[in-house]
């Protein structure tokens, strides 16, 4: 991932300006289609989707604020089901745990089902460096992997690529002569992957939800890749963020219905798997051994802070799809594993000490609130962005104030009534000469692209005075 910060200007603007027309077109049209589908489906299926999102948010918020009860309960349930549970304080520890679990069984070949948590800890690079052949099985993630690229979206990792680019990658990596027909591409991936599944020693997955009461891991996929990763190999390792819990099985009807509709605009995914342990005794296929690695990696710090609502996130990607900034800039502009509005909050928080390097992200928003309206767990993303802007300022992160004109003059003016009144009168003069001539650099940057409306200052004060006289 390109984490290099450009030396001037807002990083996200520079990324947005640098993306090609092809990428812009792919991202813009796919995200718009997904948003429309989501809205139509929710409105068609439910009389009051907003209420359903609020309840879902409350369940998640409750779970987080009682995590000291639910996390130990989940461990107990999982262990009762025959699952070995591990805890990793950070990415390094998680990588080591997974590495040693694989080594203990002599596992050299791994099939991996799409998981943001494994992206977060850069598991693939670690396994490759340790001589483990780990293949991404989700079609999009597989393409990202062979390209040496990074996902630009949390649900549709190759939203930034079109069929011609994919066909070229397949050709380059020996998956047949150039053919950009999506069906041919898919069939070739199917053929290639089947041998990989059958010869794999282990399957690695994430989890969409973990039910504390029953110890059930829930995995949703469309392609059947996670199912295959848990059918052929004998070892299953799941890496799960500690915030993924829900209290009980009944809550799954809330989250499954909202997650899938919000993520892909489908009413249900093709495969929804409820896993509570190794395969049933006597079964020929499926894992003999199952491990869950709970990952903290900054989450307990977020829980202690004033942005804990972000931990409600169920990774549906709806806020990316609806966001005008994401649609312009694409995912790589966020320079982290989690892009879009959710990433603008989560990534700087997960960065911990490296917060300053991502302090500009909370500013990459017009605070239009579309993300909040789209969120199936009703996360107040705009409020959280404001809290992080404040944090950036307080901690004097240079990126938090880059490109912002000094506001000292305005503050002086606004805090002295007499001066303010004078300024309002002077404002009317502005209507008589073109503002483009104003030689102040921060202002001219603004006016170069925008037309200033006619100045009508002072109206409120007039109205207020008259109102009191009446």
């Amino acid at each position: 991932m390109n984490t290099e910060i450009p030396s001037h200007g807002q990083p996200i603007d520079r990324f947005a300006a640098a993306i090609s027309g092809e990428v812009y077109e792919s991202v813009h049209s796919s995200s718009a289609i997904k948003s429309d589908k989501r809205q139509a489906l929710l409105a068609g299926d439910y009389p009051n989707p907003k209420h359903l999102r609020e309840i879902a948010g409350q369940i998640k918020q409750h779970t987080l604020e009682s995590l000291d009860k639910y996390l130990p309960q989940a461990v107990e349930s999982l262990e009762r089901n025959g699952v070995r549970v591990h805890f990793a304080a950070n990415g390094e520890e998680a990588r080591q745990i997974i590495g040693s679990l694989l080594a203990a069984r002599g596992a050299k070949k791994v099939v991996k089902s799409k998981s943001m948590a494994t992206e977060e800890i850069h598991l693939n690079d670690y396994l490759a460096a340790n001589g483990v052949d780990c293949i991404e099985t989700d079609l999009g993630e597989f393409i990202v992997q062979i390209d040496g690229d990074h996902p630009s979206h949390i649900v549709t990792p190759i939203i930034h690529k079109n069929r011609r680019q994919i066909a070229k990658s397949f050709e380059k990596h020996g998956l047949g002569a150039y053919n950009d027909d999506p069906e041919t591409i898919t069939r070739r991936a199917r053929k290639f992957m089947r041998d990989k599944y059958m010869s794999a020693d282990a399957g690695i997955t994430g989890a969409n939800f973990v039910v504390a009461e029953t110890g059930r891991l829930v995995l949703v996929t469309n392609e059947g890749n996670s199912r295959f990763s848990l059918a052929a190999p004998k070892l299953h390792i799941a890496l799960v963020g500690i915030e993924k819990l829900v209290p009980s099985d009944r809550d799954l009807s809330v989250f499954l219905n909202l997650l899938v509709r919000s993520a892909t605009g489908q009413q249900f995914t093709a495969y929804t798997e409820f896993i509570s342990g190794p395969h049933a005794s006597g079964q020929p296929s499926g894992p003999e051994e199952m491990h869950v690695v709970f990952l903290d990696n900054g989450r307990s710090d977020i829980l202690a802070g004033d942005c804990r609502e972000i931990l409600r996130c169920i990774r549906c990607g709806a806020c990316l799809n609806i966001c005008p900034v994401y649609r312009q800039a694409s995912g790589h502009a966020y320079r982290s594993v989690y892009p879009g509005p959710i990433g603008a909050v989560l990534s700087p928080l997960l960065a911990g000490e490296k917060f300053p390097s991502l302090a500009d992200l909370p500013k990459a928003s017009s605070l239009c609130g579309a993300c909040n309206d789209a969120c199936p767990v009703n996360i107040p993303i705009p409020d959280l962005l404001l809290r992080l802007r404040d944090k950036g300022k307080r901690e004097h992160a240079p990126l938090a104030s880059r490109g912002v004109p000094p506001m000292g003059g305005f503050a002086g003016l606004a805090s002295q009534p007499a001066l303010w009144k004078g300024a309002l009168l002077a404002g009317h003069v502005m209507n008589y000469f073109p503002v483009e001539w104003v030689p102040v650099p921060p202002l001219s940057k603004w006016t170069a692209q925008r037309t200033l409306p006619e100045f009508r200052g002072g109206e409120f004060r007039k109205w207020w005075k008259q109102r009191r006289q009446r």
Binding site: V75, E273, I275
Partner: protein, 200 residues
């Protein structure tokens, strides 16, 4: 101190100053049932409609199954031994055990379903009742034998039936992807043809 203790302590500390913790909300799972999807007939009729909507194929008897399978080039299949007797006369060479070394030779797999969800158009497969996970997954065609009495109308009802099986999967039509330019392609890693065979 182990990482487990450390993390659990951090979580406890993070919440220690929280006076009024968010309560578990009062709600009815029925609110999350998509009414338009469950209306218009019996559980079987609703299942037929919704399973067809996700491009699954429902057959009501052996003759119908025969007609559907005749459209596919099927040579070899893997079939739950309890079902082989019912599947004669299809000109398919049946094996009762899934041979991993020949995984690519099976064109069709036949296993038992443990239920279905009418609302979502999903088959419910439970590990204990499935002869082999791979027979339900690796071949291009999968036939799940489903008892009519085990079709549950809504998702919340079905979730109450998960029981203590270590692996339950809801299969909602054929496997699919839209990763390439958002274009829907069926039959990615799992079956491209998903059939539900209703029996009494």
């Amino acid at each position: 101190m182990s990482s487990k203790q450390q993390i659990l302590n951090k979580v406890r500390q993070a919440l220690s100053d929280k006076q009024n913790r968010a309560p578990y909300p009062v709600y009815d799972t029925a609110e999350y049932v998509a009414k338009p999807r469950v209306e218009g007939g019996s559980a079987e009729q609703v299942f037929r409609r919704n399973f067809a909507a996700v491009h699954g194929i429902v057959v009501g008897d052996f003759e119908e199954l025969k007609a559907v399978l005749a459209k596919q080039p099927l040579k070899k299949g893997c079939c739950d031994p309890a079902l082989t007797a019912k599947l004669q006369g299809l000109h398919i060479e049946w094996e009762s055990e899934f041979n991993r070394n020949k995984f690519d030779e099976y064109d069709i797999g036949v296993t038992f379903a443990s239920g279905a969800v009418a609302e979502t158009g999903s088959l419910m497969l439970k590990d204990r009742a499935t002869a082999d996970r791979l027979s339900a997954l690796a071949p291009w065609v999968h036939v799940a034998v489903l008892k009519r009495s085990e079709i549950y109308l809504t998702l919340p009802e079905a979730l109450q039936r998960l029981g203590d099986d270590p692996n339950v999967i809801l299969v909602t039509g054929p496997s699919k992807t839209a990763d390439v330019e958002g274009i829907l392609i069926e039959g990615v890693h799992g079956p491209g043809v998903q059939i539900a065979w209703l029996v009494d």
